[in-house]
């Protein structure tokens, strides 16, 4: 696809929601970090599954179940390939990124001892804070925070000096949902390997924006949510290295993950099944696989180029409004077009309500990053999070909405 095609800017045709109106205005959906929209192909895949194939997997010998089992297995293979060619066995379907993190933190408990250290960054989502906090509480380990500079980017060289072999796990987000900053996961990985710490990467925000290769990163764990990458709600993925999954005891217990069960004791199926107790979100897994197909057809280089156009256009517009304060983004090349901002002293909720009256959906609040808000010294921010399907022409309407906010509040 050439730049000219990208500038034609017609990707939104693939997304039924983007054809609708809110408040009598065309919907301008800029809350993509909360959840992305779904293309027709994904929606149709889910409907089709229920209309034509629906059946449980693995457990029955009849044709319908055989079809579904095959499709479910193919979905797993597709995810394995999508993340950089991992093993089939290294992909666990979960209900979302949050569950994936909880799974690992639960299983790590047997590996963590008093005075071990777990490192996270100051910009983590609550989902990548609380489970480690609990793990530390349960084991006596210490939760340590990677230093951040005043450009709101991680201080990797200082981190490298601070971390020691007491560090057993480093859990960082690949891309921040609040600031849009891309963390240098390769450098972090190198540092982890040096001290022998495992690396957990929260990829919830990354996969809709950039090609991920967990093997190149050399991540031990990588977690993501289907609904944040043009796929359905209720499905997520945990990638984990095979030997780690083999060492771990199972998380949830139930059907489909056992080998032999008596009232006295039970043995478990091999990975990946050991970690998928109960009927999985089958339609969700197939929908996710379809979203991966969709992304492959669209191509990440196209997504990246389009997002760069959106980025530049938005920043250019903001440069003309002195009342707007964007957090971070000093170095555009470390960022995706996800912006936390405030306008003078207007409260973000009020900004969000005013934007909504223009049909613009943005989020206001702490973005599940209360510790980051404490560092920024604000109770909340407004956040515009673009996806590649957003239109460059919509930036004019954002400008109008900003001006309206100022008109109402700063007159």
């Amino acid at each position: 696809m050439s730049l000219i095609d990208i500038e034609k800017d017609t990707f939104y045709h693939d997304y039924p929601v983007l054809q609708r109106k809110v408040q009598d205005k065309k919907l301008i959906y800029l809350d993509n970090a909360a959840t992305t929209q779904k293309p027709y192909s994904v929606i149709n895949k889910i409907a089709q599954f229920y209309q034509m194939q629906n059946s449980n997997i693995h457990r029955s010998a009849h044709s319908l179940s055989a079809e579904c089992t095959l499709e479910y297995d193919n979905a797993r293979s597709k995810v394995a390939e999508f993340l950089g060619g991992t093993l089939f066995n290294e992909i666990i379907f979960t209900k979302g990124c949050t569950e994936a993190i909880n799974l690992v933190s639960f299983c790590m408990e047997k590996k963590i001892q008093k005075d071990d250290e777990i490192w996270i960054s100051p910009i983590e989502h609550h989902a990548n804070i609380l489970p480690w906090q609990r793990l530390c509480k349960n084991t006596g380990a210490k939760l340590k925070i990677i230093p951040m500079n005043d450009q709101l980017e991680l201080e990797i060289s200082t981190f490298e000096h601070l971390i020691t072999e007491r560090a057993k796990l480093v859990a960082v987000t690949h891309i921040s949902n609040a600031l849009g900053v891309v963390n240098p996961v390769e450098s972090i990985s190198r540092i982890c390997k040096k001290v022998g710490a495992l690396l957990f990467i929260d990829g919830a925000q990354a996969v809709s924006h950039t090609k991920v290769n967990v093997k190149e990163i050399n991540a031990d764990f990588y977690a993501l949510s289907g609904h944040k990458m043009f796929g359905p709600t209720g499905i997520g993925v945990l990638y984990a290295k095979e030997h780690l999954l083999n060492e771990f005891e199972p998380y949830q217990l139930g059907g489909g993950m056992i080998e032999q069960v008596t009232f006295h004791e039970s043995t478990f199926a091999p990975i990946p099944y050991k970690f998928e107790a109960g009927t999985p979100p089958i339609a969700g897994a197939l929908g996710l696989a379809q979203a991966i197909d969709y992304i492959s057809e669209t191509r990440y280089d196209v997504i990246l180029q389009k997002e760069r156009l959106l980025y530049d256009a938005f920043m250019e517009m903001c440069s003309r409004i002195k009342e707007i304060k964007i957090y971070g983004h000093k170095n555009p090349h470390h960022h995706i077009p996800v912006f936390s901002f405030n306008i003078n002293r207007i409260h973000p909720h009020d900004i969000s309500t005013i934007f909504d009256s223009y049909g613009i959906a943005i989020r206001s609040g702490h973005h599940c990053c209360q510790p980051l808000m404490q560092i920024l010294g604000v109770p909340a921010t407004a956040r515009i999070s673009f996806a590649y399907y957003n239109s460059i022409s919509d930036i004019h309407i954002i400008e109008e909405a900003i001006k309206k906010s100022m008109e109402i509040f700063i007159k």
Binding site: D350, K404, I408, F409
Partner: protein, 142 residues
């Protein structure tokens, strides 16, 4: 336009110049209110003597609606009895959440009823009132 009814003159005035925006030096009741979804915070302080509100103040951070609502609440309830406050709170909150018209006079609070058209903002408008009610349930203090 509905936006104008939400951010009308009187509300913007209370937001800019909140009345009673201070902690009381002497108070008998207090409570903290917090909306974890958006981070709005309010603290309400009451000095109650003989079942009557003698003085009231609030502090906190939040959006225009939550700040204005707290300010207007403090202004209106002074000299009310506890029973009168609880009744007004009920009427006001029902006015914002139920589909029945209010038949009582709620004075300047009327302006806040426009919030009803913005369902995600209703909690902003009721936070101060919930906190006030909680303070009345709590242990006497001071």
């Amino acid at each position: 336009m509905e936006l104008e009814s939400l951010y009308q003159e009187v509300i913007m005035d209370h937001n800019k110049n909140p009345r009673c925006f201070h902690k009381l030096s002497e108070y008998t009741h207090t409570a903290d209110g917090f909306n974890p979804l958006c981070g709005d915070k309010v603290q309400v302080y009451l000095l109650i003597k003989d079942n009557k509100i003698v003085d009231i103040g609030f502090t906190g951070v939040g959006c225009a609606i939550s700040q204005a609502s707290a300010s207007m609440m403090c202004q209106i309830v002074k000299n009310y009895t506890i029973e009168e406050i609880l009744e007004l709170s009920k009427i006001f909150r029902e006015g914002l959440t139920k589909d029945i018209p209010i038949d009582k006079d709620i004075g300047s609070l009327e302006a806040l009823l426009s919030v009803k058209k913005f369902p995600m903002r209703v909690k902003c408008a009721t936070l101060a009132w919930h906190t006030l009610e909680n303070s009345l349930k709590g242990e006497k203090h001071g």
